[in-house]
């Protein structure tokens, strides 16, 4: 085991997969020469050359579409979109083409494309550099959406994403880039679509995704001091959703909180609530509570702290849930 940062976990995952499979290539703005606007791809150009690691002009639609076309013909592109907020520019290629192409061509192709992108708050750079858009992509049949909650998860999930035969939106949590955890030295993969009981507990289930898993952990530690045992489930992927693991946890604890950084309406929490309201309604001893950002754009600077959810909001929600029982 060694201590590895989220940033380097991503670099390593790409590096290992590029070494393993010559069809894997990486394109994006400033990914090559300068190693990425946030250093996530440092060293890869030197190692793999400019055929496989390429800087692109600012042309989000074209580069994602290039990835879709190349993937359909058998390559395994990794396209970096610097910030998730710019994915809107490539939405047609992602939602109408990457997601639908296999289906519309009757299974003639598969699209093993990964679109990596920095998501969420943390840089305090405001509404055009802070969004978490998992629910937009989760709504579109054909896509997978991955949100790793720490460096271990990031490495294992990114490697699986690169090997997956489907288009994957890989959301790198920008506020975690520097955070280190221990990671096995040997190769490992984490399958897509399997949630992870990050911390077992019997009183309340907190299903969290991405950065919110970290907040949920802190909240659980806090609540443990009060004698409350929180089960923290890291959903890992917003699509597919591991309903089994989530249902099992709710059937055990009878209380559910869902935590994500995106706003509530039509969000991940809504989908999980609908799942439970359909499949495990009678197990609930309290209303389902969503812990999310406010329904506003993300303001710049430290103001984002008022808008984005944190550990304290989860603690409050757990208290409310226990009262609601």
């Amino acid at each position: 085991m060694s201590q590895l940062s989220y940033r380097r976990a991503i670099t390593q995952a790409i590096d290992e997969e590029m070494a393993r499979n010559p069809d894997v290539f990486l394109i994006g703005e400033d990914v090559a020469e300068s190693g990425g606007a946030f250093g996530l791809t440092r060293g890869l150009l030197a190692r793999y050359g400019d055929r496989r690691v390429r800087d692109t002009p600012i042309s989000e639609e074209a580069i994602v579409g290039l990835g879709v076309g190349a993937a359909a013909l058998g390559l395994r592109p990794i396209v970096e979109i610097m910030f998730m907020d710019f994915m809107y520019l490539a939405m047609d290629q992602i939602a109408n083409h990457a997601a639908k192409m296999r289906y519309m061509y009757g299974g003639q192709v598969q699209i093993p494309l990964v679109v990596r992108t920095l998501s969420g708050g943390g840089f305090r750079a405001g509404m055009h550099h802070s969004q978490s858009l998992e629910s937009l992509f989760g709504h579109i049949p054909g896509l997978k959406v991955v949100m790793p909650s720490d460096a271990y998860e990031a490495k294992g999930l990114l490697k699986s994403s690169i090997r997956d035969p489907n288009p994957v939106i890989f959301m790198e949590q920008k506020s975690l880039l520097g955070a280190k955890v221990s990671v096995p030295d040997d190769e490992y993969l984490i399958p897509l679509g399997l949630a992870h009981v990050q911390r077992p507990g019997s009183d309340v289930t907190v299903v969290a995704i991405g950065i919110m898993v970290q907040h949920a952990r802190l909240a659980a530690e806090e609540l443990f001091k009060e004698g409350i045992e929180v089960e923290v489930v890291d959903a890992r992927t917003a699509m597919p959703i591991d309903s089994e693991t989530i249902l099992a946890s709710v059937k055990k604890t009878h209380r559910l909180i869902v935590a994500h950084e995106a706003p509530a309406p039509f969000g991940f929490g809504a989908e999980i609530a609908a799942l439970i309201a359909e499949k495990a309604l009678y197990y609930l001893d309290a209303p389902i509570i969503r812990v999310t950002s406010q329904f506003t754009p993300v303001p710049v600077g430290r103001s984002e702290d008022y808008i984005l959810p944190g550990a304290k909001d989860i603690v409050d929600a757990v208290h409310r849930s226990l009262k609601g029982g």
């Binding site: 002009p57 359909a72 296999r102 519309m104 061509y105 299974g107 192709v109």
Partner: protein
């Protein structure tokens, strides 16, 4: 580029066969649509079949083609069985895509045809991906991207022209300029209507040709293919052409004069080519008739076979959303 010679007899015959097949295909489909035999809609390529007819002879099996919504001639000239294309348009199981994609989203990846889309301009990035693949694997293949005049005002045209030129990719952009984008005439789409000239902005060669003249069209395309194949990068070929039918079958066509349609129809390159094949002594009338009869036969069997194919089952329609590990 001196490698490109005059078109030889065999090639002329093959182009004629492709052209005749495509023309009759369009006519038959149009009739079927009028008789209510096709769900959804149909975008006839009648009048524009020449480009597609050439592609079948001028490209190799390694090349990729991203067709556009009027490119039925391209499918046929690449050897796609007419019944599979008709079945796809009819939404039947024996169609190219199992009847799921339909007219706008037909593909035959085994023949290098993919990237068809209902979204105008979305083919450019997909074609860029195909050209990138050729470059990445250092194959001898190239990629070709078909589109209309209307598509050139989409942002994706610009992004992809720029990237193709910047990376010197083996990609040929073929614009079938038929003077309209749906009901909108060219002069309301752009102020600078010389589409070929737009290549300058990317440092790419661009050329405009009369799409009703076989020789110039053939030569311009071949030159672009040779360039791409020999590592000299992308080009833009603007083919001036015309669609004889409306934007879609049933279009009331209030936006153009019957006279304009007539003047193009008078120049129809199909009989011209037939005559030439006779005049040059390549085939005589009897042989041509025979070959046409074969095509008629092929098509009527194709229609029958397509119509006999069932619609997809509910089960058919639930698969292929995701690929499974190791599928394909």
């Amino acid at each position: 580029m001196s490698e490109i010679h005059a078109i030889d007899g065999n090639t002329l015959t093959e182009i004629y066969r492709n052209f005749y097949l495509a023309r009759r295909f369009e006519e038959i489909l149009s009739d079927m649509f009028r008789r209510g035999e096709i769900d959804g809609w149909l975008h006839s390529g009648i009048g524009q079949e020449l480009v597609g007819s050439i592609l079948g002879v001028a490209l190799t099996s390694q090349d990729y083609i991203v067709p556009y919504h009027r490119s039925k001639a391209t499918f046929l000239s690449r050897g796609v069985p007419p019944h599979a294309l008709i079945a796809e348009i009819l939404g039947r199981q024996s169609g190219l895509c199992g009847g799921v994609g339909g007219e706008a989203h037909a593909a035959d990846v085994s023949r290098g045809i993919f990237g068809s889309t209902g979204v105008i301009g979305a083919g450019f990035p997909l074609a860029l991906g195909a050209a990138f693949k050729q470059f990445y694997q250092a194959t001898e293949g190239i990629a070709v991207c078909g589109f209309g005049d209307g598509a050139t005002t989409r942002g994706s045209f610009h992004e992809c022209m720029n990237l193709a030129a910047l990376w010197n990719l083996p990609l040929v952009f073929i614009c079938e300029n038929n003077l309209y984008s749906e009901m909108t005439p060219l002069r309301k789409e752009m102020k600078e209507t010389r589409i070929a000239k737009k290549a300058d902005a990317y440092g790419m060669p661009g050329v405009a040709v009369d799409g009703y003249d076989l020789d110039t069209t053939y030569r311009a395309l071949q030159e672009a293919f040779v360039r791409a194949r020999s590592g000299q990068g992308p080009s833009l070929v603007e083919v001036k052409t015309y669609r004889w039918h409306g934007h879609y079958e049933g279009d009331p066509e209030e936006y153009r004069d019957k006279g304009e349609v007539d003047s193009w129809q008078k120049r129809d390159p199909l009989p011209v080519l037939r005559q030439r094949i006779q005049d040059e002594g390549i085939l005589d009338a009897f042989n041509l008739d025979q070959s046409e009869k074969d095509i008629e036969e092929l098509l009527s069997q194709a229609v029958a076979s397509a119509k006999a194919s069932p619609f997809p089952t509910r089960e058919n329609l639930l698969i292929n959303v995701y690929a499974q590990e190791g599928s394909m």
